[in-house]
């Protein structure tokens, strides 16, 4: 049920081709599509402005109910529309390129009548550049084509009615009967002529795309509990990896709000260094060695121009020019501003050094050797950590009222030096500064144990000297800062549950962060809690919580960044890679602890 033209975030499914992604609502409307890449301006942004954003609708022209699923082991979506007059099956996919004259990007919507005769309607309203620019509506060889500057999109259709342009949108109606097939193919070009596909080529690419995803899933190596959700999470992760560079977007969307009507709306279509260790860890655990290799080398390439200083996030092509600006869309359910770009780039966040060194350690542990130049770079990064760890920063939550002495940042600086020492002992990086790394690591540990521990809370604290906690403390047992079964770790886990948990979910923190309004529960933190419980020996508690969390995925197994604990409604960008990475880690933690 839409509210003011906006579908609930949990009503969306994602399809993608490793270069861009589209969000498909339960009612058959594609409300988010950027072309040609994840971080390009949108052509469909109805999710951020129902009036001006642009949509690609396809649904029965009469009242209907919907059920849907991904075709098994794929990122291809199947939606079944049931009406009084019959039912229809629609298969949506962003097809993968083949060796023929394929469109630069192609989104296929294949319609098959299942029973009865169902009147269908489709409407494509492209709005280039985040809805700012109306298209030139033209025709090429009977194909409706919309163009603007270097962008062009066309809709090739077969047995799907006679399309016509009206008010900047192309639309048609048709009826489908049992066994009848119709097809729509959105063909897109950027800075090149459009390719107008043939029906046979579209059908072949769709079939090949399904086979590719099945084969990829078949090659994954996970045997354990919650296998279906782990597989879905792996497929989401693969879908969010930008194939041309190997970088992974944090989420394929921008400005889906953390609070309805609020201002906490961010662009996640970039690659965060912070996610690197989770990504590499999950990829290696699932047997995705090619993806892990390309991801690791992307991190090293992206950071090469700035090392030993690291930026918080990088563009998918490895660049750092990411200016944050607000665009004049009305926002998801009037949640403004809608932001493009991300100002967190300018922040100082020390934890990312630990994330990168942990990534290198995991990569090395996965029997992948580091070359000498990479070892030198990692050594310089460890030296930098020795220089900066005493300084305050903006921390993992990218607060805008910092800098502060965040406990998590100190812990991750310790992780950076600990992993550097381990890599040096293994001969992967130069060992000439190892004594200094040991001294500074010991100093960090002393700081955390003395200044970041609250006897009153019986917990580590959010900030040195504070009397509160945040969800990032759950990372401490995951990063092996201390024995997960130690009294201090158990006390910290209990404090987080006591102070931040609401139902099955965990808030990030309750402290002020320089932004107005509030937010939902951080789904990622809930899975971190599962992992922390499992590693601290509380396996049955972890399993029960995991079971409940898995039931909170949407109907196709996806999660947004946050959730409203009362209503179960999703909040924030969707689907979020880090949540699915944390789910994989939680499942593996329970499996291993069991």
């Amino acid at each position: 049920m839409r509210i003011g033209g906006y579908a609930p975030i949990e009503d969306y499914a994602v399809i993608g081709d490793g270069r861009t992604a589209a969000l498909v609502a339960r009612d058959g409307s594609i409300d988010w599509l950027c072309l040609p890449n994840f971080d390009s301006p949108s052509v469909c942004a109805g999710i951020l402005d129902a009036d001006r954003g642009g949509v690609f609708e396809l649904h029965p022209a009469i009242p209907f109910e919907t059920s849907r699923r991904y075709l098994p082991q794929t990122n291809v979506l199947e939606t079944r529309f049931t009406t009084d007059r019959g039912s229809v099956r629609v298969v949506d996919a962003l097809t993968l390129p083949d060796d023929c004259l394929d469109p630069m990007r192609e989104l296929v919507r294949s319609v098959e009548g299942v029973s009865g005769t169902v009147p269908m309607r489709w409407r494509f309203a492209p709005r280039f550049n985040y809805g700012a620019e109306a298209p030139r509506c033209e025709w090429r060889q009977g194909i409706p084509v919309a163009t603007r500057h270097a962008e062009a999109v066309g809709i090739a259709s077969w047995d799907a009615g006679a399309p016509s342009w009206r008010d900047g949108a192309v639309e048609a109606e048709f009826a489908t009967t049992a066994g009848a097939r119709a097809c729509l193919a959105l063909t897109a070009a950027h800075a090149e002529p459009l390719v107008i596909p043939s029906r046979a080529a579209v059908a072949a690419r769709l079939e090949r795309t399904i086979r590719f995803w099945e084969q990829w899933s078949h090659e994954r190596d996970y045997h354990g509990p919650w296998a279906a959700l782990v597989e879905r999470s792996a497929l989401v992760l693969k879908l969010l990896i930008f194939a041309p560079s190997g970088a992974s977007v944090a989420a394929p969307t921008t400005s889906l709000p953390e609070e309805i009507g609020g201002e906490r709306n961010w662009d996640y279509r970039f690659c965060w260094i912070r996610d690197s260790n989770f990504i590499i860890g999950a990829l290696l655990q699932l047997g995705c060695h090619e993806e892990a290799r390309s991801q690791f080398w992307w991190f090293m390439q992206a950071t090469a121009l700035t090392e030993p200083k690291l930026h918080v996030l990088y563009r998918l092509d490895g660049g750092v020019g990411i200016d944050e600006r607000c665009i004049p869309l009305s926002g998801y359910r009037r949640s403004r501003p809608v932001r493009v770009g991300n100002g967190a780039l300018e922040q100082t966040q020390h934890d990312i050094y630990g994330d990168l060194l942990e990534t290198a350690w995991l990569y090395s542990e996965g029997h992948h050797a580091l070359d000498g130049d990479t070892g030198e770079v990692l050594g310089r990064i460890a030296d930098r950590v020795c220089d900066i760890w005493r300084q305050p920063d903006s921390g993992i939550w990218e607060v805008r009222n910092g800098p502060c002495q965040f406990t998590h940042s100190k812990v991750m600086c310790w992780v950076a030096l600990d992993r550097a020492i381990r890599l040096a002992e293994r001969g992967e990086i130069p060992s000439r500064h190892m004594d200094r790394w040991r001294r500074e690591a010991a100093a960090i540990r002393a700081f955390v144990e003395e200044r970041c521990w609250s006897p009153a809370l019986r917990s580590y604290t959010r900030i040195a000297g504070s009397q509160d906690v945040d969800a990032s403390l759950l990372m401490m047992p995951l990063m092996l800062f201390d024995d997960p079964r130690s009294e201090r770790m158990k006390g910290t886990i209990d404090a987080v549950r006591r102070l931040l948990q609401e139902g099955d979910f965990v808030f990030r923190y309750h402290a002020a962060d320089g932004m107005a309004g509030s937010e939902g529960c951080f789904v990622n933190g809930s899975f971190w809690l599962v992992s922390a419980l499992a590693r601290s020996g509380r396996v049955s508690e972890a399993s029960e919580l995991m079971e409940r969390l898995c039931r909170r995925a949407n109907d196709v197994g996806l999660y947004a960044e946050e959730i409203n604990p009362a209503s179960g409604g999703f909040l924030g960008n969707f689907p979020q890679a880090l949540v699915h990475l944390a789910l994989i880690d939680a499942a593996i933690s329970i499996r291993d602890a069991s």
Binding site: P97, D99, C100, L101, D102, P103, E138, R140, Q141, V145, T147, H149, A150, E151, A152, G154, A189, H190, A191, E192, P193, L194, V195, I196, P197, S198, R199, A200, A201
Partner: protein
Amino acid sequence: MTVIWSAIAGGFLGTLALTTIVRAASELGLTRMDLPLLLGTIITDNRRKARAIGYAIHFVVGPIFAVGYAALFIALGHHSWWTGAVVGALHAVFTGTVLVNVILPLLHPRIATADTAANDVSLIEPPGFLMLNYGRSTFFIALIAHVAFGAIVGWAVRF
């Protein structure tokens, strides 16, 4: 022989300039014209190979056109950068009208035309009159690129 070699050298440099101007305009979002893709798909339907082949064809055809320019200069008994620029402008008009809309569809098995019926193979969007299907600025860019080509050939030719 001087005239031939100078024309070929000028043609190579001119093609370099023409290709760079069109590519830069494309990157700036001013046109969707992609000469290497258009030329390469005459030979193959593999878009990745097509671009490489298209660049090769372009750098072969460019000097051949330059030899034609040189023949025209000899007939006129005059050559200079501005004479070449004028010939380049005429060349652009010829390209935007006759070459891409009449001759190219005859040679190109994968470009859609007004006669294309329900297609059983994938086709490339046709350029249209003055290549305007590829963007409103396309002919202007093609004109600048060909004027640059002609000016360089006019400057380079020796006889």
